[in-house]
């Protein structure tokens, strides 16, 4: 059942060395208040999984700038100007994954599947470095492994007391699927948490049973 905690207590669920799935596409949908508090508490040696890291001033990239991250799994990180040099110097590990495959791998982790079989990335560096060519059903596919997190940090627009979430338009992006793929799901809720029953059951984007901790932003 979902707990409503203050920011400090909520972020205490994150531990050194955790794999942290971070929702958001650039700044849109990234739980900035949770990231503020992570930097304050300073959990380190994190692996972060995010679409793009955004920048070192806003978004998951702030955790990299703060020296808390040992590995990033991103589809793109062109705005994180500091990252390529850090990777070259061996200070941080970077795994790149095509955006749709990244989403699908997180889903596989959350849906109890053994990974994905996709045409995307065949014959590219993704096959060479992070995938495995398999032949099934008469065709070649790129196998990529599932991704799960110890923690997911999520931003939502609305939530009810049961933890049901609704996102505001494109805020949804990776936030929805990441709620399935982590042991602990921490959600920053941008609007006042509503009583159970205020969200119609067929308009729920994430069922509340997936949410562990909510923080009122």
């Amino acid at each position: 059942m979902v707990q409503i905690l203050n920011l400090e207590e909520a972020v205490r669920h994150i531990k050194d060395g955790d794999i942290v799935l971070g929702g958001g596409f650039y700044a849109n949908g990234t739980p900035e208040r949770i990231i503020d508090e992570m930097i304050k508490q300073g959990q380190k040696d994190l692996t972060i999984v995010n679409n793009d890291g955004n920048t070192t001033e806003k978004g998951m990239g702030r955790l990299v700038a703060a020296g808390l991250v040992k590995k990033c799994i991103f589809s793109w990180c062109g705005r994180m100007t500091c990252l390529p040099q850090m990777v070259d110097e061996g200070k941080i590990e970077l795994e790149l994954c095509p955006q749709g495959s990244l989403a699908e791998r997180i889903r596989a982790g959350g849906f109890g599947l053994g990974g994905i079989l996709t045409p995307v990335g065949l014959g590219t560096m993704v096959e060479a470095k992070w995938g495995e060519r398999t032949h099934l059903n008469g065709q070649d596919w790129l196998y990529q492994s599932p991704i799960r997190g110890n923690v997911a940090i999520i931003e939502a627009d609305r939530a009810d007391e049961e933890g049901n979430l609704v996102f505001n338009l494109t805020q949804r992006n990776f936030n929805q699927i990441m709620c399935y793929a982590a042991d602990v799901v921490l959600v920053q809720v941008n609007n006042p948490i509503e009583p159970a029953g205020s969200i119609h059951p067929q308009e729920v984007h994430v069922p509340g049973i997936l949410v562990d901790v909510m923080v009122q932003a």
Partner: protein, 218 residues
């Protein structure tokens, strides 16, 4: 309380506050009746519901609001609807605390057979194979012996399997068995039955918990 009700009532003691639970048709479904007062569970159904209860007879029936047995239901305040793909993502992905199924046979390796009698009609497995893979805890429930008295807790299932090495526990009217990596362990025994009697009515090997408790219900 007959055997089935007794088994169901014992299963209900496994429900902890906040658990998400999928209950198979028949015996497992009876367990809801014995839910400890003050304990809230979220019932999940294969066709895509999280958080429902029986239909309120004072309300009109909505033919588009049914459970996996096509019974009319009431969605709880704070309940949610998902599609079939996501429903099984919840089931297979470890998001259910507990799945309770009826069984025809189970065995000492924790395998279960509950979908097909050899030579019987091929009616399909429905969601049963999915339900035995993924829930944090999978409990098989059944009467201890077949109508002809033969054992149903076997060394190895002889019917086509629903799942291989998937069970956490087996509950019959005679006792509560935990499935461990070392085999079956009898943790609780019903009143008025002896371990020797259970051994006589069970083909599988099992050890007996040194702190064997009486199986009681609320």
């Amino acid at each position: 309380m007959n055997s089935k009700e007794f088994i169901a009532a014992r299963v209900a003691k496994e429900f902890k506050d906040g658990d998400t639970v999928n209950l198979g048709a028949g015996l497992p479904n009876l367990a809801v009746k014995y839910l400890t007062p003050g304990t809230k569970i979220y019932l999940q159904a294969e066709n895509g519901i999280v958080g429902f209860g029986p239909h309120d007879p004072e309300q009109p029936i909505n033919p588009f609001c049914t459970d996996a047995g096509e019974n009319p239901i009431t969605i709880n305040k704070g309940g949610a609807i998902v599609d079939s793909v996501t429903s099984f993502g919840l089931i297979r992905g470890g998001h259910l605390k507990l799945s309770v199924l009826g069984a025809m046979q189970v065995d000492e390796e924790g395998s279960i057979a509950n979908w097909l009698v050899p030579g019987g009609k091929m009616a399909g497995m429905g969601g049963a194979m999915d339900l035995v893979c993924g829930a944090k805890k999978v409990i098989a429930t059944m009467e201890h012996n077949a109508k002809d008295g033969s054992a149903k807790i076997l060394k190895k299932c002889t019917y086509p399997l629903t799942g291989e090495r998937v069970l956490s526990a087996i509950v019959t009217e005679l006792g509560f068995f935990e499935v461990t990596p070392e085999g079956l362990v009898l943790r609780e025994i019903s009143p008025n039955v002896t371990v020797d009697e259970i051994r006589a009515r069970t083909e599988a090997s099992f050890t007996v918990d040194e702190n064997l408790k009486e199986m009681t219900v609320n």
